[in-house]
């Protein structure tokens, strides 16, 4: 993904994880879903919480809050459903978020700072607040590598 150089004035969805805000490219976002029941199943993949059902599709739920903010979210939350690339096909994936999402258009992202991790593709300046722009593929890889596993054999 090269959001910044290819499309400096793209649209972004601003999501909130607790008190912190992050941005993702709008073209990767399908919907913000609320009220979906989380189904847990035995598995060994780190930071995948389970699945939800949206529009007769089974969608994996991946916890990104632990990596990005250092703490899990509260129980009552929404799911930001994004498109993830797996080989030659796309699949939806749900990120639990606090709930307030905004669409930003016409804003310019600037390159990430040297100290920022690779899953930050850049930053968006919102009235002086630097909001990190997430690279979803690199973020998922980092989440996989970071956290504890689910229920394991």
């Amino acid at each position: 993904m090269n959001t910044i150089t290819e499309s400096p004035e793209a649209s972004y969805v601003l999501l909130r994880l607790g008190e912190q805000r992050f941005a993702v490219p709008a073209e990767a976002v399908e919907e913000l879903a609320g009220g979906s029941r989380l189904y847990k199943l035995p598995h060994t993949t780190p930071n995948v919480e389970g699945v939800i059902v949206r529009r007769k599709r089974v969608v994996a739920v991946r916890d990104i809050a632990n990596l990005l903010t250092g703490r899990p979210l509260r129980m009552h939350r929404f799911y930001l459903i994004v498109r993830r690339r797996y080989g030659s096909f796309d699949e939806p994936e749900a990120f639990p978020v606090t709930g307030d999402c905004e669409l930003l258009s016409g804003v310019i992202a600037v390159p990430r700072g040297e100290q920022q991790p690779e899953y930050i593709a850049g930053n968006i300046d919102l009235a002086g607040e630097q909001v990190p722009l997430l690279d979803l593929e690199k973020l998922a890889t980092a989440v996989d590598a970071a956290g504890p596993a689910g229920r394991a054999a």
């Binding site: 029941r37 189904y39 199943l41 035995p42 007769k56 089974v58 969608v59 699949e91 229920r151 054999a153």
Partner: protein, 169 residues
Amino acid sequence: MIRAPQPKAKSAAPPRQEPVIVFVIADTELAIPAGAVHEIRSTDSLAGEASVFDQPDFPWVRHTIERSGATQYVVSVGTFFGMPRSRPSLVLVLRGVRYALLVDRIERMDALSTIYALPSAFQGDERRWYLGLALFEEGVVPMLNPQGLLTREHLERLDARHLAGAVPA
């Protein structure tokens, strides 16, 4: 003009329904294709046939049973998956594999025409454990792969331990 009779369009065949058994372990529902289950026995009825298997590195196998001259390992599915302790009361004896499944109870029989693929986000052993996910009115239930729970390596190690000496029950 006379037209030759057109062949009747074949009506779409209804999707094949696969019977499944939904069982419960520690309040978690799991399913398995009914065709994979040879027999359902109560743990009480197996008491006379089972031998104790006590190996600390295989805490999820506590018993073996001998069937048709072969040893079958009774796998506590709850322990295997790291679920909370429960009270298993049934053994699902499977066809074509060398293990049986210890479960709490049968919840229901059902029929499915569609099993959803496990989302690609799941990258661990669960890709071997499950055939996919079943979507019932009541919710999502993982469909166990009857041949995927234990690997060949598991069985070779279990056999080695078993040959080293299981204690009769």
